[in-house]
């Protein structure tokens, strides 16, 4: 059983920069946890603190039953996959895989057994004699994962392992990592700035911003009930439409907002959010309680199966994007109306950015 626990973990750099501000997390045994956030949010720092590559200023990290604050990386029983793979360039693939085990003075036949097994799992058996520079990006990625697997560690740590690959390979390796982690059942922490990777890989997502945890939850929880404005704008592509509520109402850009569909006691600077994919252009399927947005088209992005219509809300109350299935050509300047169901609306307090729920809404 290898759970990883973080208790009020903080990191302050010598210059006084606070990279991590009191993060607490419980990572369950066998769980695939993804740390996601924009660059500079501290996600890599947090991972490197778990790995032991960065010191911990305050708080406590334990892996399994052990507090590891003062243990060397090699003593923490973890394996890490780096963004640029960090393969030893002068060693063959086999030597790369063996190196960590040899340093542990493991028996030769056990090393050979583990290397063969990992090479089999990853399909790199025929590459064992090659040097890293003779491998393609995807193959290097596999070797880097192989080096983690042969250790049979208590936890895998991934530091943006796919960001050096091209788009197609990235999707393929993403699926492989997911499959591999499931079949090995090893607790994993994965860092990425790509919210799509986070959504598809994670058992649970941790959204980090400025060294603080904004939200922890399953991908669907984070998508459906973003806890703050930051999460709402970060998760989902294209991003959620965020409209200043009061302004939009005054300028009649939104119709059909009845008292029941808006939380009570909202401040005047509250923000309304609605995802482009939750809106429909026209009146098709609009219920009696539908909320309407009036806007002027500024541009259309056609991506094949669907089109995203970008526009200005009536009276200049804000920008909006709406998803339309299929291919559409709309002249800029066309005035349209889009509808959504009231339960698809999100509300955030303007000052704190925190989510505000309607009374009686399902928790």
């Amino acid at each position: 059983m290898t759970a990883i626990t973080l208790r009020n973990v903080s990191k302050t750099y010598p210059g006084g920069v606070e990279a991590i501000k009191g993060v607490s997390l419980d990572i369950g045994d066998g769980e695939f946890l993804v740390l996601v956030g924009p660059s500079g949010c501290g996600k890599s720092t947090l991972l490197r603190m778990i790995a032991g590559l960065e010191t911990i200023t305050a708080g406590e990290i334990s892996i399994g039953e052990r507090v590891v604050n003062n243990l060397e990386p090699a003593e923490r029983d973890i394996a890490m996959v780096f963004q640029n793979y960090a393969l030893y360039p002068h060693m063959s693939v086999r030597q790369n895989l063996e190196y960590g085990l040899k340093n542990r003075r493991m028996a030769r036949d056990e090393i050979a057994r583990r290397v063969e097994k990992a090479a089999g799992i990853l399909g790199i058996a025929e590459l064992l004699a090659r040097k890293p520079r003779q491998l393609s990006g995807g193959q290097r990625q596999r070797v880097a994962m192989g080096r983690a697997i042969v250790r049979e560690p208590a936890a895998f740590l991934f530091d943006e392992p796919l960001s050096n690959l091209d788009a197609k390979l990235r999707v393929q390796m993403r699926a492989e990592i997911r499959h591999l982690q499931r079949s090995l059942g090893t607790t994993s922490v994965y860092v990425t700035h790509d919210q799509l990777e986070a959504m598809t890989l994670a058992d649970r997502i941790v959204v980090l911003n400025g060294g603080v945890v904004e939200q922890v939850g399953t991908p669907m929880e984070v998508y459906e009930r973003p806890a703050s404005l930051f999460v709402a704008s970060f998760i989902g592509s294209p991003a959620m439409n965020l409209v200043p509520l009061q302004q939009a109402r005054e300028r009649a850009a939104i119709a059909g907002l009845v008292n029941g569909s808006v939380p009570s006691g909202l401040s005047t600077d509250a923000v309304l959010g609605v995802r482009p994919e939750d809106m429909t252009v026209g009146e098709n399927g609009a219920g009696a309680d539908a909320v309407r947005f009036a806007f002027t088209v500024t541009a259309v992005e056609a991506v094949g199966a669907e089109s995203y219509v970008h526009g200005n809300l009536q009276g200049g109350a804000g920008d909006i994007a709406v998803r339309m299935p299929g291919y559409h050509r709309l002249e800029p300047g066309t005035v349209l109306s889009a509808v959504t169901a009231p339960e698809k609306l999100h509300f955030f307090a303007g000052a704190s950015g925190q989510r505000v729920d309607r009374a009686g809404a399902a928790q």
């Binding site: 990386p73 890490m80 640029n84 002068h90």
Partner: protein, 281 residues
């Protein structure tokens, strides 16, 4: 060059051949002189080899130039080899270790240590030769291999080069090694040194030749002829008072003195060139 004009070709080749000739001619004359008898050489320059090749080289290697009191060449070649190897190996070892310390460890006065080493770059042996001699004499190292090589080992060039190279090694490699359970010395031995292989070869060649060609320093610290090195030995052969210098033997010595550095370059050429032009990471 995309142009292909016959005249340009002739001119460029002409210039190259002339340049090559200017470099090769003295060596050729030295070789020719080493194959004639002393009398023939003193009569004037000839351009074709004579028939005394074996006789001259045998004399030079086994007996030396008797008139100058210089030891046989074989001994001087051996002395030069010992000195050049000691300097090359010593410098590389020390500078690898000090560059490793400076780049990978945080210790007090680290930057000061680096700049102190760096400043010695500006003080070649010739500048500090008197104080260095005083120190070596005080330590009783005159007329010894240690005295010949140790003072020349202390210099910053190689340290500086290795420092620059180590700083280009990605941090992730260090971190991967830490996770793989490699301590500092194991990381140094298993990762850093193998990565520096081409740099090592290039430096070895350069430093070997540097050591081999030392002239002033061996001249100062050796009075016992059994520690003479070959480069200074040649000079000693000229210092005859009442006789004509034995030019045929001196030239044979010069040719022999050139062979080891040339051998080192030829044997390590492939690695040497790679070390100068590319860094494999």
């Amino acid at each position: 060059m995309v142009e292909n004009r016959p005249l340009t070709n002739i001119v460029t080749h002409g210039v190259l051949i002339l340049g090559a000739a200017v470099f090769v001619l003295p060596i050729w004359i030295a070789f020719v002189a080493s194959t004639h008898t002393g009398r023939e050489v003193n009569r004037g320059l000839t351009l074709w080899p004579g028939d005394q090749f074996i006789a001259n080289y045998t004399t030079a290697l086994t007996e030396g130039v008797a008139t100058a009191g210089a030891p046989p060449l074989a001994l001087m070649l051996f002395n030069s080899t010992v000195m050049a190897l000691a300097i090359a190996v010593g410098k590389i070892t020390i500078s690898l270790l000090s560059a490793f310390a400076i780049v990978y460890f945080r210790f007090p006065f680290r930057v000061l240590a680096f700049w102190t080493i760096f400043v010695t770059l500006m003080l070649p042996v010739e500048v500090r030769i008197l104080p260095t001699f005083e120190v070596v004499a005080g330590l009783g190292l005159l007329n010894s291999y240690a005295g010949l090589s140790i003072p020349l080992i202390a210099s910053a060039t190689a340290t500086f080069l290795f420092r620059q190279f180590f700083m280009t090694v990605p941090d992730e490699l260090t971190e991967a090694a830490r996770i793989d359970g490699a301590g500092p010395l194991r990381f140094f031995r298993d990762i850093l040194v193998p990565l520096s292989r081409t740099n090592l070869a290039a430096l070895f060649v350069i430093l070997f030749i540097y050591g081999w060609n030392q002239y002033l320093w061996p001249l100062l610290v050796t009075t016992d002829e059994s520690y003479y090195t070959i480069v200074m030995g040649i000079q000693r052969m000229l210092a005859t008072s009442d006789q004509l210098p034995e030019w045929h033997l001196i030239m044979a010595t010069a040719i022999l003195a050139m062979i080891p550095p040339v051998l080192v370059i030829v044997l390590m050429q492939r690695l040497f060139v790679r070390g100068l032009v590319e860094v494999e990471k």
